[in-house]
Amino acid sequence: MRLEYTGPQKRFRLEVREWLAAHVPKATLPSFDTEVGFAEHRAWEASLAQGRFSAVTWPEAFGGRGCGLIEWLIFEEEYWRSSAPLRVNQNGIFLLAPTLMEFGTEAQKQRFLPKMATGEEIWAQGWSEPGAGSDMAAIRCTAQRDGDHYVINGQKTWSTRAVWADWLFGLFRSEPGSQRHHGLTFVLLPLKLPGITIRPIKQLNGLAGFAEIFFDNVRVPVENRLGDEGAGWNIAMATAGFERGLMLRSPGRFQQTAKLLVKLYQQNRERADADPAIRDAVMRSWMGAEAYTLATYRTACRLNKGAKIGAEASTNKIFWSELDLLMHETAMQILGPQGELMARSPEPADPGNGYSWLDGFLFSQAGPIYAGTNEIQRNIIAERMLGLPRA
């Protein structure tokens, strides 16, 4: 065990820190769930790509730096530390890209990765359907083979970033009459195709962070299939495994929130200390963020040594989503009567030191639901990690 960075890693941190200090927009961008904000976040992705910082773990040929997992963690720490904009293309870069690297053809990688890195093509995800949420194998949207095309019909929903995104990846039923996880195919498709109707869904904050997508005889070339026909479920699951669990929420995010929470508490001691539970919650927040960071480093080191990560990855999702709730609920308590005021409200003057606790609080409510509800994660832990009998 040796818990230190190497010289090159320390230099990399400095390089990232300096670049971000020089390039991160001074003013907070409008939410990427608005048209203007989406465009500004896309421009930021292009700026990141120019510095070759948009996808540091990718091979250089695709716009990355070929960084290892520790360098990736360093990059993420610096990124969150700098209060840089949220990543509008995270569906593509952190979720689809690892899948493409593993299952895509060389031509597909060449076609999709560079434009993903620059933000020229922003990706939305197409998993859930009205009848297939936690029970994703109940997917009914079809991709019927017709010569060198698939003809897509049906409906997807809760599709994150889909209102303004360019491309969508998702699972479709390609074998008529197939059941559950059989007969599903992983398809990549442009959202501007004829026959596609996108209906924005307003989220708690009033913005259209996700959408319903209707497909009416949408024709997609067969070359847009990722992996084999009918193998979609395994492809989706293979990288839903660890790499993706690791990359979905990097620890820097929660450490930054914990740091801001400690600051908020210290600036409001008089109000906060009226309830002794608040101090305790602030401390648990800091410890939780630290534990999540350490767990991620440990996992990265184990992966580097060739270990396989199994069902214990499901503990991650539960841990960070509950930590995020704890931190934001605690902040709301500290803010007291200021907590309900939205950022556009004239009062008060930035109680969050540049961070909107209310926006974060709202988003934290989604954490235990997206990317597999925490109930599903608990089932996975109980059955595959602890070995309890299936229901």
Binding site: L3, A258, T293, R298, Q377
Partner: protein
């Protein structure tokens, strides 16, 4: 960056685990509970045969000369099997303290080889603990007095046995008079040593609590998989599953905190105290939740003397408040993170 254990460390842990499965079976724990001393000479000899008493003792005194990182995985096993022995107090804490006393070679020559050979029991009385564990059988008791370190024998002091809910803990109130004869080290030199012993004591218990938490989950899973109601194992019901899964989450996120704390202690890093306190709090949380939820998974059986779960629950409840209770460790964390100019946030984890 390497957050993994060396192969030898894993191999040592595996060997100790194999040994304890047989030598520290629940039936044996119950037997030892019934004895007057609560300790087994035979078990101590077997622990010595495994090399466990010699781990910390420097090679020049007949030991193996290993450190905190070598101990930490073994401490988890000592917790998992709830061994009824003061092995850690003697072979980890007392051994470290004696070795680091200012050069009193005679004392080191007298005691360190005996620790290594498994022929001495040494109790450690730190002021953070109300009572002294295993004082009666101890050949030497190391005591705190205004930061000085004193060494006494059981015959020098008056011991009043106290009764813990954990029948394998043997605790004593101690009345004694410090004197020049008993003094081993000045307050000036002792203060830092006591601080380090405190960190090691809490670190050892954090590891044991983690092991206990894992044992209780395992017992809860075994029971829930066998016990049937409504025509199926109760462990097939989500309400039961999710309680045990919650403990698994706590355990997974305690491990790296514990291992980092062991690293900080081993390397004598500036932030060792806060890392240890964090580990103790996290492990205590995991163990208390494990006790509660494993008991619930057992239903009424969990409330009986007959079910083995009780041995591990009682140990966990007791150890949670030993070597610093929750308030003590929270205060140490608070002192660090609420300090002016404390470096927190992304990038501050490994300094």
């Amino acid at each position: 960056m390497d957050f993994t254990f060396a192969e030898q460390q894993i191999a040592f842990r595996d060997a100790v685990r194999k040994f304890l499965i047989i030598e520290a079976a629940p039936e044996m724990l119950r037997e030892i509970w019934e004895t007057k001393s609560g300790r087994s000479r035979e078990l101590r000899c077997k622990l010595a045969d495994q090399g466990l008493t010699a781990i910390s003792v420097p090679e020049t005194y007949g030991g193996i000369g290993l450190g905190d990182l070598d101990w930490i995985l073994l401490q988890v096993e000592l917790g998992y099997y709830a061994i009824p022995d003061s092995l850690s107090d003697t072979a980890y804490l007392a051994s470290w303290l004696l070795e680091h006393l200012p050069a009193d070679l005679a004392l080191k020559r007298e005691w360190l080889p005996r620790i290594a050979a498994g022929t001495a029991r040494i109790a450690v009385g730190h002021p953070v603990n109300l009572l002294v564990a295993d004082a009666e059988l101890a050949d030497l008791i190391l005591l705190w007095h205004d930061d000085e370190i004193h060494g006494v024998t059981a015959s020098d002091v008056k011991l009043t046995p106290q009764v813990s809910i954990d029948a394998s803990r043997r605790l004593y109130a101690i009345e004694w008079s410090p004197s020049a004869r008993t003094r081993l080290c000045s307050a000036k030199q002792g203060a830092g040593l006591w601080q380090q012993v405190l960190n090691r004591g809490a670190l050892a218990l954090a590891a044991q609590l983690l092991g206990l938490a894992q044992r209780m989950v395992d017992l809860g899973v075994d029971y829930a998989a066998q016990r049937k109601q409504f025509g199926k194992p109760v462990g097939a019901f989500q309400a039961v599953k999710h309680q045990l899964a919650d403990v698994a989450v706590k355990i997974e996120f305690t491990k790296p905190v514990l291992f980092r704390a062991a690293y900080a202690v081993d390397r004598d890093l500036d932030d060792a105290a806060i890392q240890v306190s964090h580990a103790k709090l996290a492990a205590g949380d995991a163990a208390r939740l494990a006790a509660r939820n494993a008991l619930q998974a057992h239903g009424a059986m969990g409330y009986t003397w007959e079910a083995d779960l009780q041995m591990f629950m009682k140990r966990a409840w007791a150890l949670d408040a030993a070597w610093g209770d929750r308030g003590f460790h929270k205060q140490r964390v608070a002192d660090a993170i609420f300090a002016d100019g404390a470096e927190l946030g992304p990038g501050s984890t490994f300094n």
